[in-house]
Subunit: 444 residues, 2 copies
């Protein structure tokens, strides 16, 4: 499936805010149009046609043929862009192939990736003379409702669209999948002197040919400084995974999201952040062993926070990689190992009962990788992820995952209770593993 | 797909050897017919029709409706079983459904599971008036060629079958997938007074309707004490996985296969063997810590050998389970942990430099789970197994997998070189992990 992106407008309300054409305004490390291209690429779309108008040269110079993004970009120019966005959309007629389904999207509307996936999935079920329109019926959640194109929906059909409609029950998200029906309608409406997309969509709506896909995820029409800021907040919030550990959700993400916001516009890569997080863990280990448990504990927590940032940057800037995932998970294990060994070393220096240090340190060290080991094995065997919140039953509140373990280490460092911390770590990790080993049978 | 199993004959040549009807003769813990049913069940076949003759009651009493095996078993009786196996096969006509494809197999032919899978796969591509016949063109590998039904094959079509053919180039494995064509041919040949399966198959061969599937795996017609013994050897040999570690292949399997042979006829389960292997590892740890490194080393190797037996018994008796896999892999980690902690404890008692014991033990303990961790993570991310022989490049000879690690521990115990063993374990496991971390990028 190809995607056609309308990037012809002037975007005057943001011009004062940023001195660039609107599709090229940077937002958390990517320009608006780049973000849309990369988000669609993640959904399997590799061919793009960009309709330029006002800032044709700037946009062409910036994106080129798409080499840098790893996609194919072609351009069509609409010199009559001032007439309306329907004229821009109809420019695609010259490249349209018979019976082709294509995505039509605005360069300046930003969507959560899951929303795009659901639209592409829904597009499989439309007829050859229909138009699919992404629409949002969660009116209380829509940003700047006044500015939206409203829809009067009857079931999953649009009856009428317009900016000033009363009695509407949904709004238009600015994202379509056309089967050619829209191109025909555009030819008619432009012939009648009606130049907006909405004019053509209304022609189809009268025939009952506009099928609505109601979205469950967020989107923003980035139109002015306020919506730009809102979009930033929304994207940052969407980086928090649904299945986050308790400490991660309640503490770490509060900081990591802020760090991600700061780092997004730099060139730092997720793997570089993984390395920094690891080096801070090493510093924590050294602090525990030779300097101060307080510093060791705080550095461990900082490392834990940064351990979230690599993933956030990867999701935010479409930089996820298989190597990054393996690299992160192995370095995390080493980080844990070093910190706990540093603690054991510190304890060793303060007691005569070294055999106890040896045995308890062994118990703590061996417990560290078991949670990951169990979960990975479960996944390779069953093909499904192991979900601690569900599968761990009564033990789901045990801080046995990495965010919990490093939080305990932080508390242990701050309160200077190293032996107790090691005993607690050993108890929690092994108890969790034994519990899983006994109870997992019923999930298999 | 249903499977029809011919179990009507007398099996006189084995009668003297075992006092049971041939299909019920036990072989490595399962009767011949049970093994065939369970092997087909693993290929997704759940409905069976068994054609009885000579020992109808014994076979019915033994298998019942198949509840114990988790399949549906129905019976048809052929009181004219003495006439020939074609008459037995034609008994199925009364249950045959139009256009049905079904498997026809002899109760006393034993096949490697992979052979059955390949035949079922090949059956997808036969026409509605054809018969698929599993045949073996690897004549040098065929057991007791004299007794086999020979085939003159022209490409993948049979031209003629017979016991006494000259110029044959393949043999009949006694395994068919029929589309109804064979039932029609049986009716004709029986009407002409020709009562064997071969007679009917030859009618189809004349019309070019017998398609041959050439097998790559082993099978035996269990007909007399010699072939019974050969079958045992074959099945035991097939238990060795293609991707076995070096120590496992060269040493451990030599013993584990013998133990499996002994245990096959008992009721011991794979999980029970896993527990025994774990307990022996605990005994090894205690020996290292308090008794003798020699005993500790030998027990570690014994545990390593038994670690192969659980899987062998599971494959041999169709007892594989997801729980067993998780249970085994977690208990293996604990076994390793205990043994190495036992060694560290022993070292601690013989030296003043306890901080060195602490640090080296920490390095050895933390290295133990990394190989599995890396491989599991690789598999969950890529969906493919990590293959040390290929992916580990120059380090593929490093004994970093479990069979290698326990072998080093055995050598260390026997030679009483515990510190050196712990240093070696730490070096090998961490070196392997770092090498993988650096080189894995090119496989992703």
């Amino acid at each position: 499936m190809r995607a056609v992106i309308l990037a012809a407008g002037e975007g005057s309300r943001l011009r004062a805010f940023s001195n660039r054409p609107k599709p090229l305004i940077p937002l958390l490390g990517l320009s608006l149009i780049e973000r849309n291209i990369l988000a669609l690429k993640e959904c399997g779309i590799n061919d793009f046609v960009i309709i330029t108008g006002c800032y044709a040269h700037e946009i062409r110079d910036y994106l080129g043929k798409g080499e840098q993004l790893g996609v194919n970009v072609n351009y069509l120019h609409n010199s009559d862009w001032k007439l309306g966005n329907g004229v821009s959309a109809s420019t695609f007629q010259q490249l349209y192939c018979e019976n082709e389904k294509y995505i039509l999207m605005m360069a300046d509307h930003i969507f959560e990736p899951e929303l795009l996936k659901s639209v592409i999935e829904a597009a499989k079920n439309i007829e050859q003379d229909e138009l699919l329109l992404a629409s949002d019926a969660r009116l209380e959640k829509v940003y700047d409702l006044d500015e939206c194109t409203k829809i009067i929906a009857n079931g999953n059909r649009a009856e009428r669209l317009g900016k000033k409609l009363k009695d509407f029950n949904a709004v238009d998200c600015g994202l379509f999948v056309d089967t050619g029906a829209l191109q025909k309608a555009l030819a008619i409406s432009i012939g009648q002197g009606a130049y907006t997309l909405t004019d053509a969509v209304n022609l189809l709506a009268e025939e009952g040919k506009v099928k609505l896909h109601f979205v469950d995820h967020n989107w923003v029409d980035v139109d002015d400084p306020a919506s730009y800021k809102y979009c930033k907040t929304l994207l940052l919030r969407s980086l928090i995974p649904a299945k986050d550990g308790f400490i991660s959700r309640v503490i770490n993400r509060k900081f990591s999201i802020r760090i991600t916001k700061l780092l997004a516009s730099t060139k730092i890569t997720p793997n570089q952040i993984t390395v920094v997080s690891f080096l801070i863990a090493m510093a924590s280990a050294i602090s525990f062993a030779f300097l101060s448990p307080l510093l060791g504990g705080l550095l461990a927590q900082l490392s834990s926070i940064l351990d979230g940032v690599d993933g956030e940057i990867a999701r935010l800037k479409f930089l996820k990689s298989k190597y990054g995932e393996i690299f992160d998970s192995i370095l995390d294990r080493y980080a844990d190992y070093f910190i706990v060994t540093g603690m054991a070393y510190a304890w060793y220096g303060t007691t005569e009962n070294n055999i106890l240090v040896l045995l308890i340190s062994a118990a703590a060290l061996t417990g560290l990788p078991l949670s990951m080991l169990f979960k990975e094995k479960y996944k390779t065997i069953t093909g499904k992820p192991y979900l601690p919140e569900i599968n761990d039953g009564r033990l789901r509140y045990l801080p046995g995952n990495r965010d919990g373990r490093l939080f305990i280490i932080m508390l242990g460092g701050v309160s200077n209770l190293i032996p107790a911390t090691l005993i607690l770590l050993a108890a929690i990790t092994h108890l969790q593993t034994l519990y899983r080993l006994i109870t997992v049978r019923k999930f298999l």
